[in-house]
């Protein structure tokens, strides 16, 4: 039996006090000092450490916010002096796209490496923007699975990056043409360059180690030099026109390299291939208004192997007032390539706005071969995404004081949890291979289609917002 892909994890508790959603406000002056105080009855025993906690207050920004919000103490207090509140610090986490709930669940996964499980049904809005406007499908009775019954351990999440031949020309029993190089990684995930707003040079060695531990690839600035030569397999240098070149001997030890898009992109690929013929070259295409057209154009060139489309951190199109979302842009590119009959020849990596594990599955359903992420890993290190990473501004997560093992452990945990969740949704879909999920929109349901089929027919046109 071949070795299974398994990420080793261990619980890594947070460095900073937890920022919970709920807190209890206590009007102590009215307290009757009952012997059967409700605080003693807290199911979660949240009050036990309260006195000690208040005495120490080592972190002034951390209040007592580890409450689970069950209202039991509030409703049972003899003097009715307890109130439940939402932690304002919690509400300040993240931004409109990276909502506090996303930050919280990412922290939890980075700590435990487990799939978040909770009771009661779904609590959120019916649908939403972007990835929230689609649902993944599942299989039942009439087609118990698409690929046959199998255990979770048989679901493969590995993907191949590179150009594939449209067909094999055989010369006898041999292929007539040399097969193009392919890079296989065990999970459809690549760690992208840190966004300029969040660049923290100290994090690079941690990312390097995380990529090596999880078997994925991290895209790094061309100036970066890994701590271990053995890690070069898990590093893809990014070569922008103005960045210094990577020494040939280093480049030869890597499997993937990314270059910025430019008019001379074909020459650039040829030059790199001259140094290292077995390397796979990805082209980074920013999803500006011209991005989709450019990605489709590039895919038609025989030299192009991998296209990495990148939206902004919230998954939106760049440089436009009315941006489209990554999901729709990926679908558009994928569909255009399918129509041209060249979809299988190039690999499409999609990045920007991938914030939750379901986004991985959904982006792949929309046509990406794999996704690239950066911010979730930063959040795994307890970043609040407060967007104030400027010299002289104190970081609320104290990222500058980060410990190597802590950082690697948290990022690895997050990737492991995402991997497990990807397998869960694939298991529900009855898919055995993530490669076969690519562009399989039959495994998804889209809000606009369901609305039209259900309510459009009955109640006319949907009013635009």
């Amino acid at each position: 039996m071949p070795e299974k892909y398994h990420i080793k994890t261990q619980p890594i508790p947070p460095r900073r006090p937890r920022i919970g959603k709920h807190g209890v406000v206590d009007w102590r002056e009215d307290c009757a000092r009952c012997h059967n105080c409700v605080k003693k009855a807290c199911v979660y025993d949240r009050y036990r450490q309260e006195d000690e906690y208040l005495r120490k207050l080592s972190d002034v920004d951390s209040l007592f916010f580890d409450c689970m919000g069950c209202f039991s103490c509030v409703q049972d207090c003899t003097k009715n002096i307890l109130r439940l509140t939402i932690n304002p610090e919690y509400e300040r986490l993240g931004n409109r796209y990276w909502k506090p709930d996303i930050i919280k669940t990412t922290w939890l996964q980075a700590e435990t490496a487990k799939i978040p499980v909770s009771g009661a049904g779904y609590r959120g809005p019916f649908s939403g923007q972007g990835f929230d406007s689609m649902w993944t499908d599942m299989s039942e009775i009439v087609r118990p699975t698409r690929d046959g019954i199998h255990g979770r351990e048989y679901i493969s999440t590995s993907v191949d990056i590179g150009r594939k031949l449209p067909f094999l020309a055989l010369n006898g029993s041999q292929s007539a043409a040399a097969l193009p190089p392919l890079v296989s990684i065990p999970m459809p995930l690549i760690i992208d360059l840190s966004s300029p707003a969040h660049t923290l040079p100290k994090l690079d060695p941690l990312i390097e180690q995380t990529a090596a531990d999880t078997g994925v690839i991290a895209i790094m600035d061309s100036r970066y030099r890994p701590a271990k030569d053995g890690h070069l397999e898990n590093i893809a240098f990014f070569l922008s026109p103005d960045s210094p070149p990577v020494p040939d001997e280093l480049l030869r030890k890597t499997r993937l390299v990314e270059i910025a898009d430019s008019p001379a992109v074909v020459e650039r690929i040829k030059a790199i291939k001259k140094i290292h013929p077995k390397i796979v070259v990805a082209i980074r295409v920013e999803l500006t208004t011209a991005g989709i057209g450019r990605a489709i154009e590039l895919a038609g060139l025989p030299e192009v192997e991998v296209i990495h489309i990148v939206a902004d951190a919230n998954g939106n199109e760049l440089t436009t007032q009315k941006p489209r979302f990554l999901k729709d842009m990926t679908r558009q590119i994928h569909t255009a390539l399918v129509e041209k009959g060249i979809r299988d020849e190039v690999t499409l990596m999609a990045g920007g706005g991938i914030a939750l594990p379901e986004h991985v599955a959904k982006a792949i359903i929309c046509g990406a071969d794999l996704v690239t992420i950066n911010l979730p890993l930063l959040v795994a290190l307890e970043c609040h995404l407060c967007d104030s990473c400027r010299p002289g501004t104190p970081c609320p997560a104290r990222l500058e004081k980060i410990d190597f093992n802590y950082g690697v452990g948290r990022m690895t945990n997050l990737i492991a949890a995402w991997h497990d969740q990807l397998i869960e949704v694939m298991g529900a879909m009855g898919m055995r291979e993530v490669r076969r999920l690519r562009g399989d929109v039959g495994r998804a349901m889209f809000f606009e289609n369901l609305e039209e089929e259900t309510f459009g027919k009955l109640y006319g046109k949907r009013k635009t917002d």
Partner: protein, 522 residues
Amino acid sequence: MVKEKQIEDILPENTLKTRVPQEQVPRVVKPAPSRYRNEIAKYIVHRSLDCERCGKCIEVCEFGVHVRKPGFKYFSEPNHHLCIGPNCEKTGHYCVAHCPKGALQIRENPMYKVLGDFRWPADLILATWKMAETGDVPPEAYDYDYEGGNSGGGFDRLRFKFPKQPPVKLREDQIDTSILLNKRGDGRPEIRIDVPWYGGGMSFGSVSNVTQLSKARAAVAFNTFTCTGEGGYMERMRPYDDHVITQVATGLFGVREETIQRVPIVEFKYAQGAKPGLGGHLLGDKNTPAVARMREAVLGISLFSPFPFHSVYSIEDHAKHIDWIKHVNRRALIATKVSTPTDVDMVAVGSYSAGTHIVHIDGGYGGTGAAPDIAKKNIAMPIEYAIGKVHNFLAAEGVRDKVTLIASGGIRTAHDIAKAIALGADGAVIGTSELVALGCVRCSRCESGRGCPRGIATTDPELSAKMDVEWGTQRIINLYSAWQKILVGILQRLGLRSVSELRGRTDLMMHLDYTNDVPAKT
């Protein structure tokens, strides 16, 4: 319901021997106040030090908010939860306006926004509590929005188009809310339930036995059903056998010949809306000695139900399962619970052809004792889309009137039930609402540690003792009673004589996000 005589004719001898006398529960509404000392209020009344204790506020308030106990000089803490808020100004009984010293203030309780969520806003939770307490529709003065939630789609954006005058004037007692569960005409009992809903499957393990018993007793009172869920059949449920559905799910926990033979309905659970395609999962902490004994499992280990039934790869396999149950229990109706994939319509028709009496579709936003967050939100479609799809497909196949279609998964209110029926279902299965009636605040902590801190979804003996069966039964009876009134009210305003006349009447509704200018088909 099946009469005793019939049962004697068809029950196997050994079941008759072990059958216990069936207990009756009267359908009587009685007050069942909250079991907590402090009610959560929508508004807070604040009395400043300017108060001269003249007592004017007590005089004017119609709701008993202000209290001064006899012989006391000072006022007690106001009954905040009884206050109807600034809307009171229109009534002329607004204490704030009448206070000669301007010492009173009323403002929204900041704690109110902590309670609830998009699907179950605070208003809906409090209104459900109110209904469970009084057995009646919440008083209009409180202005609770108890039709649905704030999720911004599905039921929450559908509304009934009530005519100014009902086309037919009907008295409440002329309106029939019952539905037939066996439409196949196959000689099995034609079971009719008095209300178009029954209780969803919640296993002993995921909820306490008090919760299960309360649900069962309320089902008896309303001549409807409750379901064991996948966790076995408690001996204490036996006096309610005639109103219990035995669930056969993939783990087959607690499924024995006798538990199949005791009941009038057996339900196959293929998937659950909240975690479709993932199977069931009872975390180790909740596998207490009692649970382990009933499930014939090892104490303290997590219990998984696999997905799917490893013996069902096709409709033919499904038919084989149904035949098995029908053979074991010759009076049983078969319900098939499935979730809502793209081809839910095919599943439903297939299930009908396999011999099921009830097709039960469970939408993605349904309740659960524990499910991965990724599954709750993302897998399978919401029930609002699935109902019409299945209803229309069954009709197109010419079998719509041969099968009962039951919808669940995110049905929270009587209005939701009516809307689900108008979309094409015959009835609904409800679960979370019953738990809210018992005091659930939807904190989502059913799964961990000792389980529900409110003593509902837990097997911890200390926590389960927070509630007793009498009170629990009464709360659910009261909720059912209020819902029945609401439902009758809806039918009355629409001029419909029975709830089955509402089925598939999408023309009686409108969608707030649409132009609603499609001419009605005649």
